[in-house]
């Protein structure tokens, strides 16, 4: 099979992984006399008509798989076309795409062939060749096979910027029912092993940074070898089982705080050919996925807790974004005085982002704020006006009621 055909099959098979982040890793570049590439704060080199960015060459090493996870297009019993890349084919594709300036690096994942350890070794070998033979300085994200041995995870972290293990489903029972070869305990065990390893590297780095005064020794200790400097992330499918949004967000919150994850990605379930009767016949609304991302964002940057952000029975509102839904459910918290309200309170106002809030806080040091100042922040701030009081602005109760009406179906839903 030609590389062209393999690429078509193995990119198609990889597109269900939502992650394309290429930021937050250590600084590297190719000015040291050999190799190719550098790291960045994340660059999206192209956008496809699904609105997603192309940042990494996102492919599977193979879509052959011995597992039979019911929700997965590549499961053993599926009749998709199969292909397998040779290790060097992936290396050359990465380098050639990188020189064209269409990617920041590689995101490599794989179906399980033979054993988890064998598969993991193949995946690591691609990364090793890129780093040690080609001196590739770009970004590498490796999908970790949960049952791979700890030594292999250790080696993967040496070459990769980011490691990820998919938790797949929001509950252990669902995973047992839909992915019989996987188990939630094993997944979390590997995750916390990576977490501990990341922490140990961080501590070692801090220690090495400390200036010391030892006779005959350098002022600083040697820098410890890096281990997945962009941390770990995970992905889970929503809508393939009965778990509600509270369950999903509580899980995310636990993973962010307990396992130190950088990102949790959500993927709305969509039916696959010859689906099991255990799976829902309908795709989960993409809006649900979108709302989960919004809620996730609010938990990480706006001080919202997983237990307060879902204001309807178990699920986020599909009509209103989670921040507006929260504000509508807490009328006593508003309106806020823009000249006096604390930062945490202003962050909860619909239509005000972190940037806008910080601008308001800076500007009110020098003078009182007016309605025109609010409007100057941008078009989104119109939605904030019903929740704010300024020296020349006082909202009417009717303004909030107007927002509460689901005015139009969101555009995303209308497309389907």
């Amino acid at each position: 099979m030609e590389v062209q055909d393999k690429l078509a099959i193995l990119a198609d098979a990889a597109k269900y992984d939502a992650s394309c982040a290429s930021s937050g890793t250590e600084k590297r570049d190719s000015r040291d006399g050999k190799g190719l590439g550098s790291t960045s704060n994340g660059i999206c080199h192209a956008y496809t008509p699904d609105g997603r960015c192309v940042s990494l060459l996102k492919i599977l090493l193979t879509n052959w798989c011995v597992y039979d996870c019911l929700y997965c297009i590549n499961r053993k019993s599926s009749d998709v076309r199969r292909a397998r890349f040779a290790i060097d084919e992936v290396v050359q594709l990465t380098l050639s795409f990188y020189r064209r300036n269409v990617i920041e690096g590689l995101f490599l994942s794989s179906g399980i062939i033979r054993t988890p350890d064998y598969t993991m070794e193949q995946v690591i070998e691609v990364a090793r060749r890129l780093r040690e033979v080609e001196h590739f300085k770009g970004y590498i994200h490796l999908k970790t096979i949960p049952d791979a041995s700890p030594e292999l995870v250790e080696r993967a972290g040496r070459y990769a910027d980011r490691l990820s293990i998919n938790v797949e489903l929001p509950s252990a029972q669902s995973l047992k029912a839909l992915a019989p070869e996987k188990n939630a305990d094993g997944i979390e065990r590997t995750m916390s092993r990576i977490h501990l390893r990341l922490q140990a590297t961080k501590d070692a780095k801090r220690e090495a940074m400390a200036v010391r005064a030892l006779p005959g020794a350098a002022a600083r200790a040697a820098k410890p070898p890096s281990f997945a400097p962009a941390g770990q992330s995970t992905q889970l499918i929503v809508g393939a089982d009965a778990s509600d949004d509270i369950a999903v967000l509580k899980l995310s919150s636990r993973l962010y705080t307990g396992q130190g994850l950088r990102r949790v990605y959500y993927s709305a379930y969509s039916p696959i050919p010859h689906a099991s009767t255990q799976l829902p016949p309908q795709a989960a609304p993409l809006m649900r996925e979108h709302r989960l991302y919004q809620a996730d964002w609010l938990m990480r940057f706006y001080g919202f807790g997983a237990d307060e952000i879902v204001t309807e029975a178990g699920f986020l509102s599909l009509h209103h974004d989670p921040k507006l839904a929260w504000a509508l459910a807490h009328p006593a918290s508003f309106p806020l005085d823009v000249d006096r309200a604390p930062r945490e309170a202003l962050l909860r106002v619909p239509g005000l982002g972190v940037g806008s809030v910080d601008k308001l806080l800076a500007a009110r040091q020098s003078r009182r704020l007016r309605r025109a100042d609010l409007l100057a922040l941008g078009p989104a701030v119109k939605r904030a006006l019903p929740f704010l009081v300024a020296v020349d602005h006082r909202p009417r109760a009717a303004d909030v009621q107007l927002l509460a009406r689901p005015a139009h179906q969101p555009q995303q839903v209308a497309l389907f």
Binding site: Q4, L7, D29, R31, R100, H274, D373
Partner: protein, 251 residues
Amino acid sequence: MALPLRHPADWPGFAAQLPALLAGDADWTRDVGAQAALFGAPAESTAQAWTPPDGWDDLGRRVAMHADDARYARLLAFARRLQREPLLWADVLDPDRRRLQSLARQVDREIHKMHAFVRFREVADEHAAGGRRHVAWFEPMHHILRAVAPFFVRRFAQHPWAILTPLGCLHWDGQRLTGAGPAQREDAPPEDAGEALWLTYYRSIFNPARLKVAMMKKEMPVRYWAQMPETRLISELVRDAPRREGRMRDL
């Protein structure tokens, strides 16, 4: 008085003249190339020296790259206000300040998009190390060529490349970066052998079940499309999406 600027985005050159400009009452009339001139002569510096606030230099450097012909006039006018109103710099919502910030943001965004959307093609070149060069064509909207160069040098330090634009060119031979005058689209190389693989990838990674064309256009505005080979697939991908989505469901 002759304009001291050496090129259209010469912020240090402008900043060096700023004290003299502030001391007089001359206006900045034009700022394109070496012909730009001041209106009238600057007075001897009698007023007390102006110490610009932290952040002024950064803002000015970015605004100076903008294509807006009035950029230096705006900077001069705002510097005059800053001199008169000591609290002005803290007022980030002042309309003149917002206008400058917005110009600076447009420049930042164009730099970011140029880092992202430049597309290199391989060209055989017997004089180049390795026998080949990577050459790209790009049409930046602002005067950002100098500002994007360090990114590409860090990233592609070991092989020769060139970026051709209608505002000037960058050439890297693996050792040294040199600038050159404007190029034309015809100077850019045609499709090379490896491009088909990239097009295959672009076609295959697209998920036809999640069409969001407006989102794509927002992040990848149509004005860049002519410089990016993959964009010629877009109309076909959008047209075939419903059929491909159906096939995904009932394969």
